[in-house]
Symmetry: D2
Subunit: 145 residues, 4 copies
């Protein structure tokens, strides 16, 4: 599972004092971009080659609010891959240190999403994920939940 840490800034919050609900989608996209980068792909370069990844649909569940100034982690996990797309499980989590000595830190899931991404060409038509990208994207076997 890929993890990308980020800080909550004032720009991310709203008058309710918490992260604005649309901004979790920004966090998810940052994590996807960084995940692709660690796999060796730069979206700017892919775009110049006529390859783009776009979100077809997503479901998000907001569990607990992320707060100003806290450091959170956004994750990416591939749960399925087809010729021209993939399904990702993405979470925004908070990792808290335990108060008790020698106890591991615990994790709270703040938001969780299933994101379906499609690969499209310059005209917007679906295309096969290029070979060298595809072979890097290996779905993780999913347990029943």
């Amino acid at each position: 599972m890929f993890e990308w840490p980020l800080r909550v800034y004032i720009e991310d919050t709203d008058a309710g004092g918490i992260v604005y609900y649309a901004n979790y989608l920004k966090f998810f996209e940052r994590a996807r971009s960084e995940w692709l980068r660690t796999l060796g792909f730069n979206q700017q370069v892919l775009m110049q080659q006529g390859v783009r990844f776009v979100v077809r649909d997503l479901s998000i569940r907001y569990r607990k609010p992320a707060m100003l100034d806290e450091e959170i982690i956004t994750t990416v996990e591939v749960t399925a891959r087809t010729k021209a797309g993939m399904t990702l499980n993405q979470r925004v989590i908070r990792r808290s240190d335990s108060d008790i000595n020698n106890e591991p830190s615990f994790i709270e899931v703040l938001a969780e999403a299933e994101v379906r991404v499609a690969c499209i060409d310059e005209t917007g038509k679906p295309m096969a994920i290029p070979g060298q990208v595809a072979e890097q994207i290996q779905p993780v076997p999913q347990e029943q939940s």
Copy 2:
């Protein structure tokens, strides 16, 4: 069905030349705010009374991109209501004039979402939707799709 027209500005677009995927959630929220306003409720006032509507989860399907400078319409339709929440169907649509005389305009759905909204109090706990709000919110019977 409540309709709220809006214009796509540069702030809404991304380097792909289309509306950035997180920004549809902003459009949905604008429409929900205006819908509540037409029902006689101001969220600022509700918040001062300790009542807030928050999105619990949503599913969105992106069908066609909205483009810079075009006028689009965001809709709100209540599909279910419980004591402490409601489910909304929200769409971003483009209404195009027909090229043929005497033909009606046609509609393209650019994005469609199911949004579950909860009513919470100041401490973040679920609360019953206040009576005068609740009685204004009447779910539309849904056809099978």
Copy 3:
């Protein structure tokens, strides 16, 4: 002076409960877009013709915060025009009804900016403002302040 009304939504606010300071620049751009539209120009079309207006520099003074749910007005006034650019005075104002009968409404300036806009071609080089646009843009004589 061109005026463009707009509503403050949750997306515009931050954890301080007021409009986030960067978002006034979004309001200014919306007003500039609508002002160009009333003059007969669509930025999407201009862009396809290789003409773009970009902000070179701006100074903004934040006087009073804009609040969630209030209706504000953003203004555009041309104070100077050169061959390849123009200087605009832009304000975000609140128009309040007087409490006293027969008294006119009064205006509060929430933010005020001087914005220098340049006309550039597809390569990013400065270009003369196209004739039919330029002739519509007439600077207002400025009083000494």
Copy 4:
């Protein structure tokens, strides 16, 4: 001079393919927040103590556009400090490696701003910067430019 690196994501760009002009103000605020953090101050905590830093006015000059996916650096430098405020010089810069061996990297200034920040209390009134914060904020002597 404090430096804060950041990556340009799709959320930051607009249909022109470059960073949207309002988003530089977000970058500046991120850098200010991180600068305060390195001095030992957390804005969330300061806010709970009734202390807030707000931008009173700013001037920004856009020199060259920042591009999707590039890593840029945002800087903070205090140029003046008064009892209840300070003036910052902030830049967004690109550090490019030289193509020639043994040559140092060079710097391009993409945007440069002068930002006046005020310290206010819970009621929005100006207040003296708290002593332990103030003593950490030392203006850098400015050369004539």
